[in-house]
Amino acid sequence: MAMKQSVGKRAGVTILAWVVAFLIFFPILWTFLTSFKSELDAIAMPPKFLFFNWTLENYAEVQQRSNYLHYAFNSIVLSIGANVVGLLIAVPAAWSMAFAPTKRTKDVLMWMLSTKMMPAVGVLVPIYLLFRDLHLLDSLWGIGLVLMLLNLPILIWMLYTYFKEIPVDILEAARMDGASLLNEILYVLTPMAVPGIASTMLLAIILSWNEAFWTLNLATSNAAPLTAFIASYSAPEGFFWAKLSAASTLAIAPILILGWFSQKQLVRGLTFGAVK
């Protein structure tokens, strides 16, 4: 009896999980399907789910109208570059907070987190003016800097939680073995933290890839990543849903594939520290 009940319960939970997963996934699926419709099918009422004339014309036109590779290249450079630089700052910062904390360390961590709670639009104008005066508008360096600073609190927080799990004895052993601080971080801490660093990087890259507010406001063409590529299809003529969907599909495909292959790492990254 108890066995049967638990099977029923498990079936219920499984169905619920699938429903929730489907709801979350549906917009992506719909975008994907729409990208193969004609513009007319795309706005048809009632909506056409699978039975329409499948076509690749949207992809062809998107290719013709704009240079996908240019945007994709910017996205890659920005999301990887910004986070590699961020990591170079975050590893030493997280080291000092995890292994040489002061009375103020907790406050600093909370303060860093609080910057993520502030609405970005609140500082748009000052940042825009700064960027204009420093000639950083629409430059990879400028956008990269913003993305790096945007993710830095997350990088430091995640690495801090991860480093906290590493026994301090091992770092002290390295010090007794004559390792300088740099060697201790380079040869002992970093290799031990590779799984944590990898999942942190992965999450940060995905966040940077998807970041739209700053990239849309500070870049127009030269440094514009894929977010701008999508946005360009909702431009003056009105919405062309099918083409917009094709552009979106192209923009999210790389990061979706990356996420798919690294989902184990990602889940670990998002939950570490939660369970000892």
Binding site: D169, I170, E172, A173, R175, M176, G178, A179, N183, M192
Partner: protein
């Protein structure tokens, strides 16, 4: 060379004083053991010598030179941690070689020294394994190998055997003792186990609440403890402490008598008592008895003693082996 001196060393964590002004002189080649109950500051004292903690005041001298502000990596000391603290991502070879790499030794010199250390410690067959593939005793050996390969001025051991099972602990105790005989390098060893302290040390430093209670050779401490704390801490089973009339009669506030320093008779003696329990170990018999007007006594008899619970006995302390203490717990004889 590897002499270590501490001059009025103090350490506080915030308002808590962990070490209250310790003066200590450890000579080159000596095997010194810091012993005391948990929380007495023995590990902290070792970490101050290592440089892993900064002293609040006082001086640490290594080979006569002030090392108080020198970082741990520059003091030339090696440390073996309770948790082994091996580098989990490196092989045994990598672990042992790490310090030599940091010192910038040539690859062939490193390999030669690693092989020699591995040979000494029976680790040659395990050089390519990772720490997680080793048993507790092997990990401990790697930790020791990592220390000896550097030829340090002194070895610091922080309760290195407390994670091992009893049989292995005895074996490693002997191995560390032999290592000291071969290397003749200064060793400082922290333990809460007074048996380890008694068996290994040239010099025992007994610590009590952040201060040195007594320094001396194992037998010094056993035969002439300078106070109640050391008297009670060194020796197993512990010394019997007797207050009241029997002590006053001998001009002391407390008298101490080791379990083996009393004679037992079934017919006559100074203190009438009743046997509570007799533990027969073969080589010895431990007798737990209740003495009238005195309380519980633990006595040790050589060989087999045919004593049974509730049997009446008489206990007579040997006057020559009595320890007398005043009201403040200081030795007076």
């Amino acid at each position: 060379m590897g002499s270590i001196q501490l001059k009025s060393v103090r350490k506080s964590f915030g308002a808590v004083n962990v070490i209250n002004g310790v003066d200590l002189d450890i000579k080159n080649g000596e095997f010194a053991v810091f012993v005391g109950p948990s929380g007495c500051g023995k590990s902290t004292l070792l970490r101050l010598i290592a440089g892993l903690e900064d002293v609040t005041s006082g001086e640490v001298l290594i080979d006569g030179k002030d090392a108080t502000t020198v970082g741990p990596s520059k003091r030339g000391l090696a440390m073996v941690f309770q948790s082994y603290a091996l580098y989990p991502h490196m092989s045994v070879r990598g672990n042992i070689a790490f310090a030599l790499k940091m010192a910038g030794e040539k690859a062939d010199v490193i390999e030669q020294k690693v092989r020699k250390a591995a040979g000494t410690l029976n680790l040659t067959d395990y050089l390519d394994r990772k720490p997680r593939q080793l048993s507790g005793g092997q990990r401990q050996r790697v930790a020791i190998g990592r220390a000896i390969v550097r030829e340090p001025k002194a070895f610091l051991f922080d309760e290195p055997l407390s994670n091992l099972d009893a049989a292995l602990r005895v074996q490693m105790r002997v191995e560390i003792g032999e290592l000291h005989n071969v290397l003749k390098t200064t060793m400082i060893y922290v333990t809460h186990d007074q048996v380890e302290a008694m068996t290994m040390a040239d010099k025992i430093v007994v610590l009590d609440r952040g201060s040195v209670a007594q320094v001396g050779s194992p037998l010094d401490l056993y035969n002439r403890p300078n106070g109640l704390f050391v008297a009670g801490f060194i020796g197993s089973p512990t010394m019997n402490m007797i207050r009241g009339a029997p002590a006053e009669k001998r001009g002391a506030a407390t008298i101490g008598i080791r379990p083996e320093h009393a004679d037992i008779s079934t017919t006559a003696g100074e203190w009438p008592a009743k046997v509570r329990l007799a533990e027969h170990l073969g080589s010895d018999t431990f007798v737990h008895a209740d003495a009238e007007g005195i309380g519980a006594l633990t006595l040790r008899l050589e060989g087999e003693a045919p004593l049974k619970p509730d049997q009446r006995i008489f206990v007579t302390p040997r006057e020559a082996n009595l320890h007398k203490f005043d009201k403040e717990g200081r030795r007076i004889n």
